[in-house]
Every structure is written in C-alpha cells, then in structure tokens.
Symmetry: C2
Subunit: 317 residues, 2 copies
Amino acid sequence: MASRISNLFGIKYPIIQGGMIWCSGWELASAVSNAGGLGLIGAGSMSPEILQEQIKKTKAATNLPFGVNVPLLYPHTEEIMKIIIAEKVKVVFTSAGNPKTWTKTLQDNGIKVAHVVSNSKFAIKAEQADVDAIVAEGFEAGGHNGREETTTLTLIPDVRLQTTKPLIAAGGIATGKAMLASMVLGADAVQIGSRFVASKESSAHDNFKNAITQTTEGGTYLAFKKLVPVRLIKNDFCNQVITKEIEGADKEQLSELLGRGRAKLGMYDGDLQNGELEIGQIASIIDNVKSASDIINDIILEFKVAQQQITHTRFEV
Amino acid sequence: MASRISNLFGIKYPIIQGGMIWCSGWELASAVSNAGGLGLIGAGSMSPEILQEQIKKTKAATNLPFGVNVPLLYPHTEEIMKIIIAEKVKVVFTSAGNPKTWTKTLQDNGIKVAHVVSNSKFAIKAEQADVDAIVAEGFEAGGHNGREETTTLTLIPDVRLQTTKPLIAAGGIATGKAMLASMVLGADAVQIGSRFVASKESSAHDNFKNAITQTTEGGTYLAFKKLVPVRLIKNDFCNQVITKEIEGADKEQLSELLGRGRAKLGMYDGDLQNGELEIGQIASIIDNVKSASDIINDIILEFKVAQQQITHTRFEV
C-alpha cells in the first residue's frame, strides 16, 4: 500500500515533510530526505532568487529525492516553476490554485506532481488534472485550511472514494500511530508539518519552536475565516483576532488587523506576542525539539510497534 | 485492548451506539444490544415518564446489557436518575455537566458510568470523578460539540496521555476502518452516532434519514458557537444561522432565531427546511439506511479485513 508513494518519489519511508512557509528551507528538506522521507522546500515565503539558492543548497546536502511546495496563488509562480525545471527538481507539491495550470508542464519535464486539497471536490479536480498524487489535508492542520472544515478522519475516506490516485493524508499526524491510523483509513503515505516545525533543522525561530512544545490541547484557533482561514497558536495577536471576529468584524477590518508580514514576524523573527504562529492542533502532543532524523526514526519505530500490537488484538469476548 | 470495554459492559463488540436526542429510543437501543454492541437510550429528548416507558420496552426487547445517555444539564436529572436506578439499568453515559455529581451514586447502585468529554481538561475531571470509562468526542461529531474544536485524530492521543481509564473514541466513526484507526490511536472502543441515526430502528423521521444519505462532504456546519455549538446539516434553517453569524449576531439574536423545538421539528417531525438536523461530518459517506445489526456486522467485517490488510502491509522499499 504505502509503496505506491515510496516508489513514486523514490523514497524509503512514505513520510512527506510539509513545505511550510518560514520553516522549510534547505536544512530541513535535506535532513528529511537523508533520513528516508521526502523533504520539501516551502517556496511560499521565498523570492525566486532565495528559492534557487535553497534548491542549490539542498542538492549539495543530499543525493536523495526532495521537492518544492509551491502555492499557486504566489505572485512569481511562473518564475518559480522555471527555476524548479532548470534546477531539475524531481518533485513539486502544488496547493491553493488550479492543478490543471502547471501539472502537465511539470510532468513533461520529468517532475512528479502532488496537489494538496481540503475537500472532495478539489480531489476530483486534481484527479482530472492527472496529478501523480493527492494530499488530503484536514481541519486540524496548521497554516491555511479548507472552508468545509472537514477533519482528516472524515476527509481521507471521502477522498479515497473519489480517486484511485496515490493518497497522502495530512493534518493531525505527528506520530507513528497516527501514520498507521491514516493508512488504515486508506492513505498511502502521510504529510507531516507541525512535528517538523519543532525540529532542529527547521528555520523557525527558537521562540516559535519552544511555543509549540508549550501548546496544549485547545491551544490553537482557526482564524480569518472571512479572509483565508489559517490555524494559529492562541497568542496575544490571535486573541485580538478572536475578539474582533466575535464582534462580527468584516473583511476590511480583519485585513487591517492582519496587516503585512505577521507570519514572518511570529514564525521567523520569533515575536510571540504580535506574530502569526501557524501550527496544527497536534502541537498539543509535541513536547520537544529534536532532529529530523530522530523524528522519522521514532515515527517508524512507533508505527512498527503499533502495527504489531494491532495484529495481535482480539476484540471479541 | 478492546476487551477492556467489552468486559466492562458485558458486550460482544466494543461498539457503543450514541444516545442521541430524537433518534435513540427502545427500538434502536435493543437492536444494537441484540447485535452485540451497547445500545443507549437518549434521555435528552425524553420526559421522565417517556424514559421509564422506553427503558421497560428495551428490557422487554433484549436480555443483553443496554444503557441510558443523560445530559447532566437536563432539568429533570434527579428524577431521571431515580428511574434509572429503580429500573436497574446497568450502564449510564453522562455528558454536558460535572461528572462528580452523579458518578458515585450510580456506581453505588451497581451501574457502570461513562462520561463524555470534548477536551483533555474534562477528561482529567472525569478521571478524578473515577468514572468507569471516558468517551472522547471530536469536532467532526454531530450534535453538541466542544469549543476547543479538537478533532478525533488529535483528541484521542491527547486524552490517552491524560488517563489510564478505558477510552471510547467518538466523532467521525461510521466504518470498520475508522474503528480500527481509533484503536490504533489508543481507544479501547468506539461510540457511533450518525451511522445509527440512518438505521431502520432509529426513531428519526424518514425525511431526516434520507437527508443523511444525501449529505456530501462539506454538507454540515458547526452552528451556534455563541450559544451551545451544534453540528447541523446545511439546510434552509442552518443557512439562515450562517448568514446571521457572519453578520456578528449576538446571543440574544441567535436565541431568537433558534426559538424552541427546532431539533424535534427537523429530526423527529421531518421538516427539512425549518428544523435542526444534527449530524456528524461522516454523514458524507453514509449512503443507505439499514438495520442496526447489518450496521454492526458490516463494521466488524470491515474491521477484520482492515486488520488483516494492515498486518500484511510492507511500507519500506
């Protein structure tokens, strides 16, 4: 089952590291790929020049496959894609846009394409665009999020019914048990975000990494539903948003409150009061910062133990 | 693993049927118990007299264990509990209130007590009240729902870390695969609601049952967050609520819009336009109405097949 994704990308373990803004540079991507997963550079917070530099550094740091995550609403998408093709990157994950726009061009250049969706309708569109794999990301995920609010537990079987494409589950997955549970539900692999933000190689600010380890259950909030929904740690800034939203603030008022550069301020510069701190609900069980290889090895070990345990479970009296 | 719950309640399969308002009378509860699960009568929509009658009818229809779900904010709780004790019901599930209030009294009368929680904090309170089992219900669940919006995939491991009590997963579970996934995550059993609403023995109106089979992914909404959050099918009434909430309506305005008897109007009387239709996200994969015993047998068969499949999965290249 899982080997569909492993074979597709040429990786050892069916674990994808989410390509997250301000957190996923060459250090994290290469560390994940070197540990047997698929590392992704997050282009969403990079200028074309910086992305090119990050790709070159990743290639210098690993001989194994890695990829780039490209949000398609990004202003420099065409330039970004040219760089990706010129640098002979093997894998692209696209999100936040129409999968038809770039899939064929990338595939014609020997690139495998996965597209991220948050509902069944977009999964069907991704299938029609003939992507190589679909990422189905649930409500509990960090960062930007679907308006349907469908959770991973519901979304994976829903999308599995809509497509025969290799399927990657995302949202709420940080452990080997959650990886196994996702595969039971029909996924071929998992994409893991929050757990890798709190890794040694992540380019997130140490303050943000520490904030993740302190986050408890109920400590995140899906903010800005009237703009683009995004899941944040409930810090001072987020609490201001909550208050405004309860009062019924409109798009303009919320845009004004958001301003510019909030995600960088929080995630990269480490301003825990005023910045946006994008993270998934599963931050609640993350209580340490460790290396990407330790994260992957621990997940695989827990997966194997859970697989053995479930095999030997009798559930009838 | 699962046998902790099976042994606790004296049932064959670790499947609990959620005690839902307007849907869970004696016919459904006895059918589930006769099929090897634990049937629950939903006291939340019953007067004490009707509950007593429903308990008597259930006892006449099955010799196997069944229970009653009692929301503790219910106005007649004391009367309800007296009836439950007098009728020698074996199991009570409590929710929406302090688990300390009734647990010991019920246990002193030989009754096993499970308490429903939607966050880790209340799970700890339930552990301190020394309940016999904890139900952890995620954001995707139908009916009333936690303010933290923690999904089942996140909540189960969270609560599992907080308590050694037998743990029942709820929210988003309608299939054998989801049951197996829940157990991988640390649950000992599952509570299933939506799937049993769309059963032959459910007392829901046929219109409501058919509406469930027509509900697709994204077709529900968590409404009334300023009052008591409740997940509803997006019908005319729900769409009015959505519009008001976007406009920033306050508690009073929402209470006025809600009025009285909306849940009965929709779920029991079958008014699909003006009624409240409480259901979980997983309604999206429910496409038929079948008997409670078929539901349970199909879940167990799928569980066993999935267990075999996961046992034989190789995930390394």
